[in-house]
Amino acid sequence: MGFPQKSHPRETTVLSKHFGDPDARTLAGWRNRGGYRALEQTLAMEPAAIVQMVKESGLRGRGGAGFPTGVKWSFMKPGDGKPHYLCCNADESEPGTFKDREIMRWTPHALVEGCAIGAYAIGAETAYVYIRGEFTEPLERMTEAVREAYAEGILGRNALGSGKRIDVYVHKGAGAYICGEETALMNSLEGRRGNPRIKPPFPATAGVFGQPTTINNVETLVAVPHIINNGAEWYKAMCLGNAKSTGTKLYSVCGNVRRPGNYEVVMGFPFKEFLYDLCGGPPAGRRFKAIIPGGSSVPIQTIAEAEATVMDYEGFVACGTMLGSGGVICIDDAQCMVKQIARLARFYAHESCAQCTQCREGTAWTTKIMERIEAGQGTAGDLDTLLDIADNMTAKTICVLSDSCAVPVVSGIQKFRDEFEAHIVQHRCPFRPATAAAVAA
């Protein structure tokens, strides 16, 4: 539901049904809501059957890339004699995204259960939940839920009396967006600097501690108990668009919008109705100018493009962008696009792990040039320079953080070129007078 807003009748609340209800946080409360039934059922099944069920459901990774979860799980070879690991990616730091935070704050046991099922399915006895260091409350909730689950014998050497060992540990990060990248997360978990690793080897071959590892996003894992309880067909049926995108998706809506919050809708929902009916449209007296629909790393849409979009993996691609993490950033007509894109470039420059030259230099120079343009000191050649740098930053580095910095710059110049040119021609930010007045007031 649109927490902190009230649930909207057009939402389909599967994962977010209990947001805002403190009783759902406790083990007793969670069991009253059907908690841990799926885990019990799972432990009586063959791991391969669970993987097959998740494959059939069509569930795809909710962390950004949308890789089919069941297929990812099937890369873990059973009986290879090696310890397997599950890593839950709770590093949520992509600007615009705040869904995993609410899942952990309100329904921590849902994630414990999802991790336990995921671990069992991939032949792992240990799951680590890597939570970003700034998430103090989610960390507390998860730690408490894990403690309760051990105390009740749900986790541990003999999970739910099944004779199987399942350990879930919460691990606290220390402030680094890049640790959300899967191999950086593994390095960080091992007690190293959070530098992404060159692939291959892929995590399923050599992941954390050099062992076969699967990494999944929080939202991906909390969907799994529902699939076990209700069946793959039930999950697959939640789809208005095309059969490749199934289930519900949580969208974090923020920026210049009347009702910010987390909204859960089925795949294929019309974006226009989502933005205006569910989220209430732009603030009074304003209009939407641009939408970044999937966290700051996906191409910016003009509002006209956004209004024509169908909300699923393929629908966002068809309209020139990506579903990404589902962080919908709304930007209204009072905002300066140049300033906001410069701010995003600064974000990537700050978060670059700096091991690739194209990324370390590219993010820094992009930021300098963008800020120079915003300050009214851009030159006629700057846009070409930016596009050239962006080209040198794309598809050339160890991870895609570098590409992510280029994305808003390139799509911004394509779609809002007039704003860039106005800054250069007028030698000032055309939006600045309004800002200065707001400061004086």
């Binding site: 220390a174 007690g191 959070g194 974090s252 910010p260 792990c353 000032r428």
Partner: protein, 189 residues
């Protein structure tokens, strides 16, 4: 670069990482006493059971140091290195990678304000200005003359729908607007 009107957004920004290193006696932490004794040692021993390597307990061990001492000094890094079988240089290499470990003492209240775009379009820079003004901290990253406040801008705190989120030590405040800042700071003084 001539600074346009508009405060913190205009000039170069300081983060916990870019602050100039200072090294007076206090910052060398000359009277360092070990952290990993008694209960804290037990806590670390329990943590070590969770991972197949000792090194994996490094981030948690550094968190324990910071909880105890408020920051991670060089002698602390050496102690962590010793208990985990690592070198002090290795530990420092890891500490410097992560923005949340303080390598210098900070004010009693460490204030982090998100100014990344989703919060920025909702007025986050006004919130930063209000914190600087109310706390008397001269600039981002500098501690106020009374030693109580350090204010920094941070990147996305993962709570963008609650613009502007502010972290004060471990406390997470949601939907902070500039006009709420005087009462927030007032309550801490």
């Amino acid at each position: 670069m001539s600074a346009p009107a508009g405060g913190p957004s205009a000039g170069p920004r300081l983060t916990a990482l870019d602050r100039a290193p200072r090294a007076d006696a206090h910052e060398r932490d000359e009277n360092y006493q070990p952290v990993f004794v008694n209960a804290r040692r037990k806590e670390l021993d329990e943590l070590l059971t969770r991972y197949p390597t000792k090194m994996a307990a490094l981030l948690p061990a550094l968190w324990i140091v910071q909880e105890e001492r408020g920051w991670v000094s060089e002698p602390a890094m050496a102690e962590v290195a010793a208990v985990l079988g690592l070198t002090p240089a290795y530990v420092k290499g890891v500490v410097t990678f992560y923005t949340m470990y303080h390598q210098h003492p900070v004010g009693k209240y460490f204030v982090q304000v998100c100014t990344t775009s989703p919060c920025n379009v909702c007025g986050a820079e006004d919130v930063v200005r209000a914190f600087l003004k109310q706390t008397g901290a001269s600039d981002l990253g500098a501690t106020s003359p009374d030693g109580r406040f350090t204010v920094i801008e941070v990147e996305c705190l993962g709570a963008c729908g609650f613009a502007t989120p502010v972290m004060i030590n471990n406390e997470f405040l949601e939907s902070v607007s500039a006009d709420r800042v005087p009462s927030i700071v007032g309550a801490l003084k």
